[in-house]
Symmetry: D2
Subunit: 359 residues, 4 copies
């Protein structure tokens, strides 16, 4: 297990689908910053399932509790303990899964790694694990917004073959994202995505998609070459989120098909600093932010749990047909939007503090 | 700076383009393993520029020296100091660059981060930094091969628009890769790539590309959820390599366009263990290896240094035309093959040791 | 803040005197180990104040709750969340302290470090912080006992000038220690210590003392030179405990007055391994355990909070007379015994896992 | 192995007695600081053996080379590679030691830990390992002196039973310390110590001693509760130095014999800040520096290598008589003075940078 992330702004998460609770400890959050539970609850609510027919209908009214590190709504500089109780456990739903490792899920690998695994649900590999990330990252977001004016906005830019048109990265807002439950800011595309997700649900199948994220107002100078470059830590953060398969920064894979003369971002004078006239670099050069917007894309595979019958084998190697019962999302991408945002915040919050050592 | 990578198999690199030397310290390498300088030199030679007309013709005959940690060709378990002298410095070539931050290079961001930067060449952001990775990773490769039979093979699967056909991941070898200087195992594609790179050189321009890497014989159980999942550490490792813009594991971005019923890898019985009949997961499920081959792709942008004239501004914001002189690669992808392999080895070597704590 | 300790067996603690709770997250505990709340509660009860007239009479019936990482009384290998609610807060008692930094307490330094501090009680510098250590360390103790048969026993070897006679380190037990509330295994000395502590309480004063700790059945080979030598990590662990002023391993400071010919521990054959006929090394040589009992001593200063009038200044520099009200221990050493033991367990548990990487 | 120390000002050392060289990589040193090899050489020279008859007469003219991270005598913010060649190896001298683990040395424990050990000399457990600490710590000293005016001065306060009288911690200088080869600032005591060491050498025996160290001008606010408290990191640093057996901060073990009313340091107004009228705390309260001088003492045992005959057993358990040949110090304490200073600098340099994150 490695449940700690960050060098100075440091989060340790705990909890699985069916214990008493999930949560996090945030160590290194700057002192004397205003912080309330409602600052955190906002992102937790956006992550919650049951927000619409698009996702599972479990009514987990997750509420975060601050256990320590804050007094009279000010951070003390001491570790901030955070907890969300597990309420709606229904262990019975999953009882039949035990002897059969679900294809492309983590049952088999957890068993091989630990020699034991949670008997019910996904255990630590459940999506519920991400609550710890979200409550911690919401604190990082607040720090970044208050001190630097950083804005982090993510949205669903693709569901299966349905791709959203480009958005203006300089102006897109969370309000515009949240205007539709599928969290795609283009209304027409959002309608198509929604219909497609309903279709997949009816087919007892699941769908993948892509989330794009932009981070604005990040000062130049963040990122720690050579191993903790800004894009390297973002890549680690994103690929640590369940169900992710890919990450690209700036021009990404499509940038491999350009010539240097097309790909280079020329410098121009912007106010008192230098900026670039294009931004194929995605706001990061040599592993260090350059003051331009950071943007990246994250690929999410279709969820492994599907109601459709699957031919597979049990742990003993016997042929079986598996049909998942219980509740499961046909497409996790809309709910993953706040997870991507808060993980980006954890990365940037840590890099911000690390850069302070050079002042 | 963050020049240390790994928790147990741990490398710290140092050195830049124009100091006395570059190198690494490997701490945590298992004791009593055979190790000679020639074990390491092999990958260093493959990384070296000047192997063909495809790359810069600097004759850096880099030779690695083991400074410590090895006696009578056996590792002692103590830190292994490694050094490669810088020989061919030619600082003059770069003198004119100083007041102008090269577009999409790291001059501007290093200056903003540190308030100072190497006056000559790329300093720590130079490709020469990767020598430390390669000499350290070559040791990890040896450990993985000897103890687990792990085989790591990377190749150039795309240069600009030229894509190689699929290769058999179970059988592809380094010998087949090295059969052409462009390191693409398909002869016809290799010829096209070579011609294209020569064309870019003639245009004083540069080209990007994609490297695919497969890691075979990795046992099930490696990877440390939730933040140090195997794919998360691979993503960090690859995005820390200069000029990279994207990473995808298994099905990657194309996997987002499949349904769950298509994407799931059904389990089947293989000898005494379970395997999967397809491998869209790329050998990792829930962040933990499952015993199937790990494969991933890394996107490299076209190098920022080009001879072609570029309109940009100097540090003071004055308009200038920049034309790079000196030596520079039109396409770094062929030389980056051993870098990708050795970085993968550093990730896997560390995860191997971390999994041992559970035996 | 740095609230995480350990590389592989890793604890992160949180909580202060007057928030909702204190606790810890244990990451890296080996999977499939039996663990119940009562395993942990034992040491928590030994740490609890109000066990006798020797300590403060706050009736904090601290109860630990396991939040995650354990199912059906087996560890899953996932992070173990642990929480103890704060019940008896009485913030009023401390209200008057605010403008006056208590001498030799942490009020002034926390204010200088964080620019803010908990308004009530000691905040994170309160003895209540040690609960997180104890609940985490109790798990490490269980692991060490089950897998290696390690026994860790600490006792009060001095209170002020009253020193206990030597005990047999090979046979001393926790039962013998707990026979007296002052936790000194020698009855006569215990009686003198108790009387002295009562005297200090009557004087509204406080007393220091020394705890000695032995760790038996630790295999040879634990400890990570050069910076994480076994004695170095023990020293860090012990000096991180509130109110400690010194640490010595084996012969300690008195060893400086011996000649090498007197201090060296000659090797002798013991069963199938080598042992030493004396043990001035304290079970550690070159930073690595040698199989002999580890023993060390920890100095605790007299608690800073005393009822006696003290001449000091407030934060503005004005002269004031301070007389502490509220509840406070005249001597913390008896209660610190389980803290020393559990911190030793955290060190050894981590070193045990680190040594496994070499098998 | 754990050869890396520090979170932000971070050193990784390498090298043993008989390889090609020893050295260190310093990562995180602030950029744009003046630094030359002679800044470092000063402490290296003070550490060198053969400075007088008091120590071994090996003429190791150790010269440090900066390999990277510095250009035109300014630090770049990139890792600083440092190397010192091993010149005077004489492997033959130690050949006879092989089958016999030297009592209270690390031969046995290295063999048990790694299953292999350096055939010649002490390998990584040799005093030569400390060169990496000294060259790295000398850089930390320079940083601390330039930016904060920190002064670190250590001296020999005891050799065996010979104790030096108290010195004025506010004024003692390195020049005063170095006035005698034994590095005790009191002339009379120094003479007695010198005579005693000569006596021990004549007896083919060895002697221990105590080093006291003071760190002046350290600002209030450094130290990272709860596990990386300033005294905890100092304790770890000191107990990681070869041959150390104890550490005490401020009043130390003698503080356990005082009452709280005697031990507390009353606050007083000093210029614009608060200070304390006494300093039994040793400059640290609650794990955080308070602006008063930090002082601590470190116990060194008598060196294990002695010429006197010792009864012991070989690795097979057979009785043998061991008489060390070759070169060895009868008392390492004088040479350990710069090691203590530079280790203190590594601790403080790291804590300084960590505190900057709160500005």
């Amino acid at each position: 297990m490695s449940s700690t992330f960050g060098t100075l702004f440091r989060v340790t998460t705990f909890g699985e689908s069916h214990g008493k609770g999930v949560g996090a400890v945030v160590d290194g959050c700057p002192p004397d910053m205003e912080l309330t539970e409602s600052d955190i609850q906002v992102q937790l609510d956006r992550r919650r399932p049951g927000q619409s027919r698009l996702s599972t209908d479990r009514s987990e009214a997750d509420r975060v509790t601050i256990l320590s590190g804050v007094e009279h709504h000010r951070t003390l500089g001491t570790p901030i303990g955070l907890m969300v109780r597990n309420k709606d456990q229904r262990p019975g739903d999953y009882a039949g899964f035990d002897p059969i490792p679900r294809p492309s899920h983590a049952d088999y690998t957890y068993q091989m790694k630990y020699g034991i695994r949670a008997r019910s649900g996904g255990g630590r590999s459940s999506a519920r694990e991400t609550i710890g990330r979200v409550v911690a990252g919401a604190i990082a977001e607040k720090f970044l917004a208050q001190v630097y004016g950083v804005e982090i906005v993510a949205w669903v830019s693709a569901v299966e073959h349905i791709e959203a048109p480009d958005v203006d990265m300089h102006t897109i807002t969370r309000a515009a994202i949240d205007a539709t439950p599928v969290r795609c800011p283009d209304r027409d595309t959002a309608a198509k995505m929604t219909a497609a997700i309903h279709g997949a649900r009816d087919d007892k199948d699941s769908m993948g998609g892509i989330i794009t994220c932009v981070c604005r107002n990040v000062p130049a100078g963040w990122g720690e070459p050579v191993f903790d470059k800004a894009e390297a830590k973002l890549a680690q953060a994103m690929l640590s989120v369940p169900a992710t398969k890919g990450f690209e920064i700036g021009s990404g894979f499509s940038g491999t098909r350009l010539r240097g003369s097309q790909h280079n971002d020329p410098f121009v004078k912007k106010d008192k600093r230098l900026g670039t006239s294009s931004n194929l670099s995605g706001g990061i050069q040599g592993g260090i932010t350059n003051g331009e917007p950071i943007y990246f894309r994250v690929a999410f595979k279709p969820p492994a749990t599907i109601g459709k019958a699957q031919q597979t084998v049990d742990f003993d190697g016997n042929d079986v047909i598996l049909e998942a019962r219980g509740r499961h999302d046909p497409c996790v991408v809309p709910r993953a939007v706040p997870i991507v945002e808060t993980m980006a915040a954890l990365v940037l919050g840590d890099l911000a503090l690390r850069q302070r050592t050079r002042i």
